[in-house]
């Protein structure tokens, strides 16, 4: 990374790129098919670190899917290296929004907890569960979504996320009164707009090693449930999830027989810089 510095988010604000607002969550706009059954899914991703080749197809697939601005990423792959020549090891850790469930009992991830507009939106129902949309909110199926038409631009969610996966989006302008000059926030949405239509997220679709697997943890026949069973991922969250000490209960699980996650030092002081996806 060395001398590469991306404009701070405050700088980004000043650029004031003329862009339009977007609603990241699209649920309300979809045709009325596949209506909720009694049990909601719990969407999750499993990343098999044995199969990630560091190709970055995921990163670019996401750039294209959303037209993500330069300087921003919704998913990245980090190199993790150790040992000395000729025993050098190099591994790859794909990263994205963990779509956290939040600490047990609380059941609200830090980004939602800190959002003053977390319940400012519509009253909704998914299956039997009721919920409200917000600037940042958790859908009953586990997706952490955003509605930028409700965002006031306080950026507390950016600070709250211990993983640094949120950033100011120069392509999204806020729309609430007196906020029109401010920019919105971007992050991975688990491709809710694709999943709601019955197709996997863009990064999963294209993953060269099929290292990324997506599905419903509540459905024992789903590929993620099968991997959970085989590798006991939900039973070993201290090993299979990132920064377990943060008690966020991530729903991105890693198959990691070589203990790479434990050796990946996420730079928490500069967590947004850490979420820049350059290739080394």
């Amino acid at each position: 990374m060395s001398n590469k510095e991306i404009k701070s988010r405050r700088d980004a604000l000043k650029t004031g790129a003329a862009v339009v607002a977007t609603v990241v969550a699209t649920a309300g706009l979809l045709p009325k098919n596949a209506l909720a059954a009694s049990d909601n899914p719990r969407w999750a991703m499993v990343v098999d670190l044995r199969k990630c080749t560091g190709c970055r197809a995921c990163t670019i697939a996401c750039k294209a899917e959303y037209g993500v601005a330069l300087g921003r990423f919704n998913t990245v792959v980090k190199n993790v290296e150790f040992n000395k020549f000729p025993d050098t090891e190099k591994h790859f850790v794909p990263r994205l929004c963990n779509n956290c469930a939040g600490e047990q009992g609380k059941d609200v991830p830090p980004c939602v907890e800190k959002c003053p507009q977390a319940k400012a939106g519509k009253r909704m129902k998914l299956g039997k569960e009721r919920y409200r949309t917000g600037a940042t909110y958790k859908r009953p199926d586990g997706m952490i979504l955003m509605d930028m038409s409700l965002c006031i631009g306080c950026y507390k969610c950016i600070d709250a996320c211990p993983y640094g996966v949120r950033s100011i989006d120069p392509f999204v302008k806020l729309t609430l009164p007196n906020r029109e000059k401010d920019l919105g926030v971007g992050k991975c949405t688990f491709c809710a707009h694709r999943v709601d239509q019955g197709i996997v997220p863009a990064c999963v679709n294209t993953c060269e090693g099929r290292a990324r697997v997506f599905g419903d943890l509540n459905n024992p026949d789903s590929p993620v449930a099968k991997l959970d069973k085989e590798f006991n991922l939900t039973g070993t969250k201290n090993k299979s999830t990132m920064l377990p000490g943060e008690k966020t209960d991530p729903h991105v699980f890693y198959i990691d027989p070589d203990n790479i996650l434990a050796r990946y030092k996420l730079n928490k002081e500069n967590k947004q810089q850490e979420f820049i996806g350059t290739f080394e």
Binding site: A34, T53, I60, E65
Partner: protein
């Protein structure tokens, strides 16, 4: 514009959103619930509006793999690429390069109009002209050359031109109708040397690696998980073989590539010495008798001695003698690979049920690359791992029939300048014995030496200054040629010196049939169709060929590539019955469901009818049956001394039978897999695979390092720095150097360093890393652009516009360096391959 949300969409979205907010009632989310099986792809939706994006089956062209693809179009704009999930080659996968396809169409510095130079060459002063003016100007030069019986004075130098593009532009127009054979390609700066070695050993080229069936993979110098000639069809299959089936993967590489990193073992090797390791592995196999079993069975089809009818015992005795001094201890001294490691891996490879021997540019792009490839064939042959399930197999691609040139348009005079074929002057530094894929890097030098001087030098999908060695010299010579034209999408190091630039369509705006090889050994048909109309006034070079021909009164029989492609599918057996062009347009891909994977074709017997056909004779010296009558053989003419005799090859006599074996292609070998090459011997080379070092490596001083180059997973050769999503990920290429090598020179990580070769010096930064061994510096070769627009070089191109809002978001200032300033042009003396990985350099703190 790179924001997907158009104004129109925004309006729609705005209405929808306000409606939602206003209602305030409880509403049901439409999210999927319950036991829904998610599909992998083939569909995509706008994240902003939820509206389905239009899916257009097409094909990628970012690299030569040319994967079947889907383009997704939203409001007339191509926003996204994915794989075609129906493709049996790519299995629904696409790499980062392929995904960045939309950048190729919409980068703001793209050439969109014909441009005529108005200042001095290279001054950057241009006048926009109409297509009629451009075509008339070209015809005003081309027609007189053809009328004067000198069509060869048009040199058309192409980088990548494949399948229908090659057939229409090269076969029908340039060669067929116009009459020039001065048509150099670029294969010798890629991997042409490997193909020549294949032609010497087993006939036609392309080896496929059957990772789906293999039990063991031994890889010399291929970065198949990041890049490769058939990357997506091969790489994902390799990682799945390793993780899902526990197949052991061993990679020899001078640096820790991602492929080496994901292998069970990375074996660092000194650059240019893989051939020594391979020969030592043969020595182990021979001395331990590990050729018994499937090796022995296969050796029946191998020529290993001067005599074509030698017994198995003779063959083994000859190879044993030849390899006697190539011991693991000997190879260890040369390569730095421990002898015990060589022995262990040789035994593992030879005793695996099936084993796949992989080689690529880490072997081929060296002075001794030809011998590396031949030694690899020796190891694979001795262990019976050739063209078998799980081994290195003869690749199978799709075959397409196409409309031929009308007879009335056929050129009466067809000629070519020597520059297309490589230097034929013995003693010339760029002379090689069998440049069967030309000698790209010699073309400009040969023009300077007047070995052939064209009036017009036109290029396509190519950048002669940047992509060959010796950047400065290329530029100097290029500017001396009478007419310089190119068809291009990007203003680059070469097009800036042109007299005329015509704007090419990108691959996402044009049509093709494609034919790249299929790792299933079945062969898959796939189409490229335009996802969107060409931007500005861009035109596919295929269409331009039709128009130039028309204007010169030599029409090609089709008026566009689109017509050519559709007609081709409607006349291709199999495709035609399955629905022809209409079916291909709808589905994108097709393969014969009854076709079984093709392996071991060499065992096919040739029927007595064919052997006894009119004109077929037996050649005593080689054991080959060939049709001497059709070859118009002269008195005393034999299979070996008759020009193009190999085209009339019928079969190889082995014992009392005649087999198809390994049919020759381009070079007149026998039908055997030839470890012993009479062709090599005839040209004064050792007939059996032999080790020799690059002469410059033999005389290296203690301060010298070997420069190695490489590609990364997120760039395409020299062709992608204008793609913002890729360049954002990779825009700087410091020189990788081992901590010990750095310390000896007082260099610390991040220091500025000078890298000096015998021709020039570049300045870069040092990346002190444990991912490379001592004695080497590695610099990738995508960057260091003089031009190519703002994402690549920070410089706006002539005619560039400002309509991409991402221009404001560029956050990097580095643009990297280009190693071709310090790499001289050179050849493998056997096959003409450019020796990219051999340059001796000195590195010091700047």
């Amino acid at each position: 514009m790179s924001v997907k949300i158009t104004r129109r969409n925004f309006v729609k979205l705005g209405i929808a959103s306000s409606a939602l907010i206003a209602s305030g009632k409880l509403s049901e989310s439409q999210a999927l619930a319950g036991s829904i099986k998610l599909e992998y792809g083939g569909k995509d939706f706008s994240p902003a509006t939820g509206v389905e994006r239009k899916a257009v089956p097409t094909a990628c062209w970012s690299c030569v793999t040319r994967c079947a693809a889907m383009g997704f179009v939203e409001d007339g704009r191509l926003v996204k690429m994915e794989s075609n999930p129906k493709s049996i080659r790519t299995q629904g996968l696409m790499c980062s390069k392929g995904q960045s396809g939309p950048n190729d169409v919409y980068f703001p510095d793209r050439i969109l109009y014909p441009m005529k130079r108005v200042g001095e060459r290279g001054d950057g002063k241009w006048k926009r002209i109409s297509w009629d003016e451009a075509l008339d100007e070209m015809v005003s030069v081309l027609k007189p050359l053809r009328d004067a019986g000198t069509p060869e004075k048009l040199c058309f130098h192409y980088g990548r031109m494949k399948a229908s593009s090659s057939k229409l532009i090269k076969s029908l127009f340039l060669n067929g109708a116009y009459g020039t054979k001065t048509l150099p390609g670029h294969t010798s700066i890629c991997e042409g040397g490997k193909w020549t070695a294949h032609e010497l050993v087993w006939g036609g080229h392309f080896d496929n690696w059957d990772f789906d069936n293999t039990d063991y993979v031994l890889n010399f110098g291929s970065n198949v998980l990041e890049t490769h000639t058939n990357h997506i069809p091969c790489g994902p299959r390799l990682i799945r073989a390793k993780v899902d089936r526990g197949v052991k993967v061993v990679t020899f590489d001078v640096r820790l590539s991602n492929t080496a990193a994901k292998s069970d073992e990375w074996v660092p090797v000194k650059p240019g010495t893989d051939v020594a390791v391979l020969l030592a592995m043969c020595n182990v196999v021979l001395n331990k008798g590990l050729y018994k079993g499937k090796g022995e069975a296969f050796m029946k089809f191998v020529k290993a001695t001067k005599n074509h009818d030698a017994s198995f015992a003779d063959k083994i005795a000859t190879l044993k003698k030849h390899c006697a001094d190539y011991t693991p201890a000997w190879a260890s001294k040369i390569s730095t690979v421990p002898a015990s490691k060589i022995e262990q891996l040789a035994v593992e490879f030879a005793t695996a049920k099936s084993a796949c021997l992989v080689t690529y540019r880490g072997v081929a792009a060296h002075h001794n690359g030809n011998e590396g490839e031949r030694a690899a064939f020796m190891l694979a042959s001795l262990t019976g791992n050739v063209d078998n399930p799980g081994g290195r197999t003869k690749a199978v691609g799709a075959s397409v029939k196409y409309p031929h040139l009308p007879k009335s348009s056929k050129a009466k005079v067809t000629k070519g300048l020597n520059i297309a074929k490589g230097s034929t002057k013995k003693g010339n530094p760029l002379y090689s014995s069998f440049p069967s894929h030309g000698c790209c890097q010699a073309v400009l030098k040969m023009i300077e030496e007047e070995q052939g001087v064209p009036d017009v030098y036109m290029w396509y999908c190519y950048n002669p200054v940047y992509v060959n060695g010796n950047f400065a010299e290329n530029k100097k010579i290029l500017r001396t040629i009478k007419h310089l034209w190119c068809s291009n999408i990007v203003y680059d190091e070469s097009s800036k010196h042109c007299d005329l630039i015509i704007p090419d369509a990108t691959y996402l705006e044009r049509w093709d049939w494609e034919d790249m090889v299929d790792p299933n050994n079945i062969g898959e048909q796939y189409i490229r169709q335009a996802c969107v109309k060409p931007l500005g006034e861009a035109r596919d070079m295929g269409d331009v060929a039709c128009q130039l021909a028309e204007k010169m009164g030599i029409p090609l029989g089709v008026s566009s590539k689109e017509e050519f492609v559709k007609k081709s599918y409607d006349m291709t057996p199999g495709v035609k019955e399955a629905g022809g062009a209409a079916m291909m347009i709808r589905e994108g891909v097709w393969h014969d469901p009854n076709q079984k994977p093709i392996f071991m074709r060499y065992k096919n017997k040739i029927s007595a009818d064919k052997v006894n056909a009119d004109g077929v004779v037996y050649d005593e010296a080689t054991g080959v049956y060939w049709n001497a009558k059709k070859a118009h053989v002269k008195d005393g003419g034999t299979y070996e001394n008759t020009k193009n005799s190999y085209k009339y090859y019928v079969g190889q006599k082995i014992g009392d039978e005649v087999f198809e074996v390994f049919k020759p292609d381009k070079l007149p070998k026998s039908g055997y897999l030839e470890l012993y090459s009479q062709q090599m011997e005839r040209k004064g080379h050792a007939p059996l695979p032999t080790y020799y070092a690059d002469p410059a490596h033999d005389s290296m001083g203690p301060d010298d390092l070997i420069l190695t180059t490489y590609k990364v997973a997120v760039h395409i050769h020299s062709r992608s720095t204008h793609r913002k999503w890729l360049t954002e990920l990779y825009h700087d290429n410091p020189g990788w150097i081992n901590p010990k090598t750095a310390a000896a020179r007082g260099i610390k990580d991040g220091d500025k360093i000078k890298v000096k070769s015998k021709i020039s010096t570049i300045t870069t930064t040092a990346k002190v890393t444990e991912k490379i061994g001592p004695g080497i510096i590695a610099i990738s070769y995508h960057l260091g652009r003089e031009e190519s627009g703002r994402y690549a070089s920070g410089k706006k191109s002539p005619g560039g516009n400002d309509n991409d809002p991402d221009l404001k978001n560029i956050w990097w200032t580095e643009h990297g360096v280009h190693p071709n300033h310090i790499i001289p042009n050179s050849v493998d003396p056997v096959n003409g391959q450019q020796c990219w990985m051999d340059t001796v350099v000195q590195v010091a703190k700047a």
